[in-house]
């Protein structure tokens, strides 16, 4: 049996995240100080540290605001890869696999899990490099499918509903000015034209007043 891997991260990266107790009861964690050890579902701890470091270079914390690590992007990616998406539950994966035109989309055999595992193997030691060295490493692989997935997933994990493990404390939504999945904009759709309509964001669980599970939790 695989040894359970944990990732130690700042507790604020879990603000608003939905976790499950061993009994399967959902618990919404609130942001706090200190660090916590989070059980990983797919990555090893070493892999998770690489993903955390690389996603932080893709979407860094800078003078414009928080970055991927603040939002807990690595937890989002870990859960997506552990769920139906990561193992290609919803992709047509019957052979033969043949190269084709770009308009036919990805035709490869490898699942996102396999692409990550192979891609991360190429980045051993990445987490301990300097920022400039990390950028150079990523620049060298930026055309690869692995990097394209990592970049896409970093944005997803930064701006997803926190039910998926990212966007901790709704930090991504606060940064861009997205109010969350509010039930109605009927009173404002035709007003304030050309002016930003901004509110303190709310997650779907906040709005519905009950925990909502992502697909990765219900179709394992």
């Amino acid at each position: 049996m695989k040894r359970r891997e944990f990732l130690t991260i700042p507790a604020r990266s879990l603000g608003g995240s939905l976790l499950y107790t061993l009994a399967g009861d959902p618990v919404i964690l609130q942001g706090q100080d200190g660090t916590v050890r989070v059980p990983l579902r797919f990555f090893t701890e070493a892999e998770a540290l690489i993903v955390a470091a690389a996603s932080e270079r893709i979407l860094p914390r800078d003078e414009a605001g928080p970055g991927a690590s603040d939002a807990g992007v690595v937890l989002y990616i870990d859960r997506q890869l552990a769920g139906p998406y990561g193992r290609d539950r919803r992709r047509y994966i019957k052979p033969p696999f043949m190269a084709s035109f770009p308009e036919h989309g990805y035709q490869g055999k490898e699942s996102p899990r396999e692409i990550y595992r192979a891609g991360l193997a190429q980045l051993a030691g990445f987490a301990s490099l300097s920022n400039a060295e990390q950028d150079a490493k990523l620049r060298a692989i930026e055309k690869s499918l692995f990097f394209q997935l990592l970049r896409t997933h970093t944005v997803e994990g930064f701006l997803c509903d926190p039910m998926h493990g990212g966007n901790a404390g709704l930090i991504g939504w606060q940064l861009v000015g997205y109010p969350g999945p509010l039930m109605s904009h009927r009173d404002e759709i035709d007003k304030n034209l050309g002016q930003p309509w901004r509110r303190q964001p709310k997650s779907l669980s906040d709005i519905l007043g009950r925990p909502v599970k992502g697909w990765e939790e219900v179709d394992l």
């Binding site: 979407l59 800078d62 998406y85 509903d161 009927r186 759709i189 050309g194 002016q195 697909w215």
Partner: protein, 567 residues
């Protein structure tokens, strides 16, 4: 027999017992209708071993094998409808409310409940992972550009998203509710009248429909009332009405509901289009603009512009969805049955008459449902495939032009244009059909460059989630697609991009068609449908026409709010 190198597979065989002790077994696996006859005790179910293996010349046949699990035979119904989307449920409603016929609708996807849609207001699961769509791992389509190439399967969704579940794609659609124009029903005659033969594209295979716009107008009106479409008529019984689409075919009535509210993007589109002398009109939408009760007595609330519309189910039922528009009428009817998770695999037929269907039930059991009438309502691709798998009809052969099944496959010619604005658009608000359009290029008068048919140009505010909206940056702003500079540009341009779309007619050509794929199979081992389709010079000229005409590019720029567009 082994074909395709995929090893042994179960053969899908349809069994029909006609009640006189003779059981007829249709193994509709071949290019030609292929029939085997067996004798078995009436009503008995048992394992069958087909004894023959008539492989076609094209090698399209799954391996002969053993049928299991055992076929279960149900009591006959009058009508069985394949597919529980708009088409199937509209047909069911007409039948069960106007006749005493017993109707069973078989839908391969799950049941849907309005109450479950609120928990689906999530961009990752629904807009990105496409949770409402057909499970593409079980069945997809293959595509090739010409008969000279090998087809590959569509492995993840791209340009079209087939729905599943009760309501079908009618649950996740955006509600944009257009009618065809008059010429689209008589396109072959129209083109011949308008253009010399040498101006028409090579291999053009367009035919007239055989029904006209005027034949169908009363039914368009009926459907629009049922859905509660909101809009503004531009041609009422031949009288041109400013503010509507003045280029549209005559309507017998004004829309059942008024147009949607007007947001910033729509206001700017209207301003720019008007300044350029075009005729902007509100996109007709089946997302209710006001609280509404339709002629069937079904009430639905007005759209809340929440922005979770296309690719989502509407959580308040403002969007016309079969589940909230037709099911309230159908559900109480005693002569109506709806069976979700039932995947129809063969039509059983004899002497040119359909006698029922065989389907895979919720637990994978093979079930025979006899019926006097079989209605196919499972979308063009699946209807065609089901007919081919069942050995019904004459399959189209592009070499000879003979046969009709699978012939004249068409798509749509869509070209998108993005325009960046200095001001925020609040694009997270919206509705699938919220937008403005112009019809000035729908006819032929303003066309150039060998374009025979134009199309509509419209802009919609369907509701952008933050993930989709992040990273839309004007070309040339930043070098990299990641890192701090990119992040700052993405933040600077967040919520600043509007899009416009040209949607033009795609003609039917002799070389574009559907047949069964010789290699790729669905989860049962049945061949997938194969699309052979490529763009021609005409579609490329349509694209260039939209791209290059400065007035169209500059709708918003003319209005003063937009920057230079990009494709």
């Amino acid at each position: 027999m082994v074909s395709g190198g995929t090893g042994s597979m179960r053969v899908p065989v349809s069994v029909f017992n006609n009640g006189d002790g003779v059981t007829r077994l249709v193994a509709a696996l071949s290019l030609r209708l292929w029939r085997l006859f067996y004798r078995m005790p009436s009503g008995a179910a048992r394992r069958l071993v087909p004894r023959a293996s008539g492989v076609s010349q094209a090698g399209l046949i799954p391996d002969a094998g053993i049928i299991e699990p055992v076929v279960k035979r149900l009591k006959p119904v009058d009508v069985v409808i394949v597919g529980g989307g708009w088409s199937g449920l509209v047909m069911a409603k007409e039948l069960v409310t106007r006749t005493a016929l017993s109707v069973a609708v078989l839908e391969r996807g799950p049941a849907r409940k309005l109450a479950e849609y609120a928990a689906g207001m999530d961009e990752v699961d629904y807009n990105i992972r496409l949770r409402m769509m057909q499970d593409i791992s079980e069945e997809t389509v293959t595509h090739r550009h010409s008969t000279a190439a090998a087809a590959v399967p569509v492995r993840q969704y791209g340009s079209f998203n087939p729905g599943t579940g009760v309501g079908g794609a009618g649950e996740h659609w955006g509600g944009v509710s257009y009618r065809f124009d008059e010429h689209q029903f008589t396109m072959a005659s129209h083109l011949r009248e308008r253009y010399p033969a040498k101006a028409l594209p090579e291999n053009l295979a367009v035919q007239d429909w055989g029904v006209t716009y005027h034949d169908l107008e009363p039914f368009y009106w009926k459907a629009e009332q049922m859905m509660g479409v909101g809009g503004k008529a531009g041609n009422l019984n031949g009288k041109i009405v400013e503010g509507g689409n003045i280029f549209e075919a005559p309507r017998s009535h004004e829309y059942p509901n008024p147009p949607h509210k007007t947001n910033y993007l729509m206001a700017e589109f209207t301003r720019g289009a008007s300044e350029l002398g075009y005729h902007p009109y509100p996109v007709p939408a089946a997302t209710l603009t006001e609280n509404y009760t339709n002629p069937d007595g079904v009430s639905r609330p007005a759209c809340a512009y929440c922005g979770f519309c296309s690719r989502y189910g509407c959580m308040i039922g403002a969007k016309a969805q079969p589940s909230n528009t037709l099911m309230p009428i159908l559900a109480p009817k005693k002569n109506f049955q709806l069976r979700p998770l039932c995947w129809v695999r063969r039509i059983v037929h004899r002497n040119g008459r359909a006698e029922g269907v065989v389907y895979s039930g919720p637990n994978g059991e093979e079930i025979l449902q006899p019926a006097r009438i079989v209605v196919l309502a499972s979308w063009t691709l699946n209807n065609t495939r089901l007919l081919m798998l069942s050995g019904i009809g004459e399959r189209y052969d592009p070499a000879t032009g003979k046969g009709t099944l699978g012939k004249n496959l068409t798509h749509q010619v869509c070209v998108g244009l993005q325009v960046f604005f200095d001001k925020p658009l609040n694009s997270f608000m919206g509705a699938g059909g919220l937008g403005m359009a112009i019809g000035d290029f729908e006819g032929e008068e303003k066309l150039e460059g060998g374009v025979l048919r134009g199309g509509g140009i419209r802009s919609q505010s369907s509701g952008d989630g933050p993930i989709s909206a992040f990273g839309r940056i004007p070309p040339g702003e930043v070098q990299s697609g990641w890192g701090s500079e990119w992040k700052k540009a993405a933040l600077r341009w967040y919520d600043r991009m509007g899009s416009m779309m040209f949607e033009g007619d795609h003609f039917a050509y002799r070389q574009n068609y559907m047949d069964l794929d010789p290699v790729y199979k669905d989860k049962f081992g049945d061949p997938l449908v194969r699309m052979t389709l490529d763009w021609t010079d005409h579609e490329r000229s349509q694209e260039q026409f939209f791209v290059k005409m400065p007035p169209q590019q500059n709708l918003w720029v003319a209005g003063g709010s937009g920057r230079q567009p990009r494709l």
